[in-house]
Symmetry: C2
Subunit: 412 residues, 2 copies
Amino acid sequence: MTEREMNAYAAVLVDTCLDFKAGGRLRIACEAVNRELALACARRAYELGARAVRVDWSDMRLARAQADLLREDWLDDKPLLTRRIFETYVEEGWSSLNILGEEDPSLMEGADPARLQRMGRARSLAVKNYHDAVISNRIAWCVAPSPTAAWGKAVFEGSKRPVPADPEAALWKELVPILRLDAPDPARAVREHMEALQERARRLNGLTLRAVRFRGPGTDLTVALAPESNWIGGGSVTPDGRNFYPNLPTEEVFASPDWRGTEGRAACTRPFDLYGQKVRGAWIEFKAGQLVDFGADENADALARWVETDPGARRLGEVALVDGSGPIFRSGLVFGNALIDENAACHVALGSAYEEAYRGIESVAEGERSKLGFNESMVHEDLMIGSDAVEVTGVDASGRELPLISKGRFAV
Amino acid sequence: MTEREMNAYAAVLVDTCLDFKAGGRLRIACEAVNRELALACARRAYELGARAVRVDWSDMRLARAQADLLREDWLDDKPLLTRRIFETYVEEGWSSLNILGEEDPSLMEGADPARLQRMGRARSLAVKNYHDAVISNRIAWCVAPSPTAAWGKAVFEGSKRPVPADPEAALWKELVPILRLDAPDPARAVREHMEALQERARRLNGLTLRAVRFRGPGTDLTVALAPESNWIGGGSVTPDGRNFYPNLPTEEVFASPDWRGTEGRAACTRPFDLYGQKVRGAWIEFKAGQLVDFGADENADALARWVETDPGARRLGEVALVDGSGPIFRSGLVFGNALIDENAACHVALGSAYEEAYRGIESVAEGERSKLGFNESMVHEDLMIGSDAVEVTGVDASGRELPLISKGRFAV
């Protein structure tokens, strides 16, 4: 990334994706390997009149030391400090930018999933307030990638292409069109793309679907929709009227389903990450809305532990449609990172549903929502189940089945 | 630093300097350039049964961006988040390890001292609770160095020696004997050294001095001591009985003076750092306890702004004795870092006094202590005024003057 490219990317993230305004506060979360981009975003926020910028540097080697060495006695500690920090972010309305790009994507491999689950659950409890604010768009947030050498190496090693001499630069070259930074005016290109996704969501809402059905190799899954389920795409709005884009890139339109009606089986078409461990070749099976069976070729243990976090971790909180026409799928690469891979393929999420994607749910008290079909959980994880070989249909209120995605292309 | 040396150093810091125990919490503050040592200390703390380890990574490039770009409107903001974080450290009794070693010692040069002072004052107000806990030993804390390439380069460039090919390794080689890590049992060597300093403090207390006088080139300064002034050296004790060493290295014995009796002038013999800016060639002049005049060859502005922080920043809070027999002075190097340079030379500090170095002061309410001679301030900065050419004498209750340090060697 040249300095010019980096500053342009930072401006898209801060100005366009977060709709950042003078007087706002910005939290940036990333690893030290993403420092240059984080600093470019911080400078951009200060230029716009930020009142405060804070970088939460995460260190996965420290996390691994904790995973390996923390005494059993403290595994379930809900850190007061973490709770206070995240409560303050919500209370003061900090915008949140999460820059993803790992120094070493394999660092957590081999750590004990049972210990990771207990520590992860304790952390989820400590930051519940913040998770709720994100899920309900009370704060503006954005998750975006930054290439690293080790990540680039892993992506190309897993592809049919040779590993380039400079894998970080090569990965960046792949990301530029995916992020629409190759457009003459990237901010405008991002906004126009978001409007196209919003238009797709409107068309889907016009169909008043009661279910979405996925059929393909190893997959026959029905996801029930409630009358309140609301297709969303391309952006969200904070209570104070900031239009923000929670993910860059994004190619999805998604809805919060009625979790109680999930039935059938699906094969995951891309790996996903739990506690830093890559779960590959996973499959999931539901009866009457509950995850009743599952497995994986690699790190099945991590999945088994993760679904124990709370009852909502075994139910669906999201169904998302992505076809094969987008730049991520067309790149032919598997990025090993949910932010990008979820935008290459249809997916469902285990865990918490999104409020804006389920009409009227904000007036129902927390703890009462799951009974109505809106899934509540402390966690949320996307599982990719789409590919060119997976046909997606919708079932409307009259029982009519109509194609949504066919042969890898949207039919609506 | 080899991995073995690093682990040995980490054990000295965590086990010996912090007297860290199972169930404790450890905060480590450092720049990313000190990451390997920080991780070694974190692992050591986990091995000892730490309940939590948190690294507060500071990024001076981010600090510089803030210094240059933050809007005038927010310069005096006392960040709520910072306040809550540091309040939690005190409330939960976190041990604090501050690893010093800059990625780029010149990064703050040229920043506006007036803006730095306002931001620094706001931060001091936000962390006042924590500063008070440190000053009164309610938490165990330690400040210790870690070599960096840029720091090493600056040290050797400022010396008569050639700049070595690997300045980080060369600086480490200088620090090893200073830290007493060259001893067969470094932890024991550190403890024995601390006991020798404690013995020196006992001897000084036996003299019941009423003043200390410094005379040398450009210096004739009298620092008054109160009957309550208490010489301290080599370590402190927390309320729960942990023996900790706040500085590694340390060569000083120090007391909290009666600030009201400071008279005369002193030339600073080593540079010191304010807001990341090196103040060189400074001098200070006192009348009736107040700093009435001062100057510097470089960054006089930073000093001028710093003393505006609060009234206590213009009064003395510490007088410390160090002779020329210690390993730091003997190295012949100026380290450009107060932690090390203050242990090469006698010094006085502008700003807050230490409770344990002034008997009975803890029973006087905050805000009332300055009237009695115990200086209260939000800040504390050491100014080195000693050298082989500076003679130090003590004046006892009967008015008798006796030599304390003569020709660079302790006489008591």
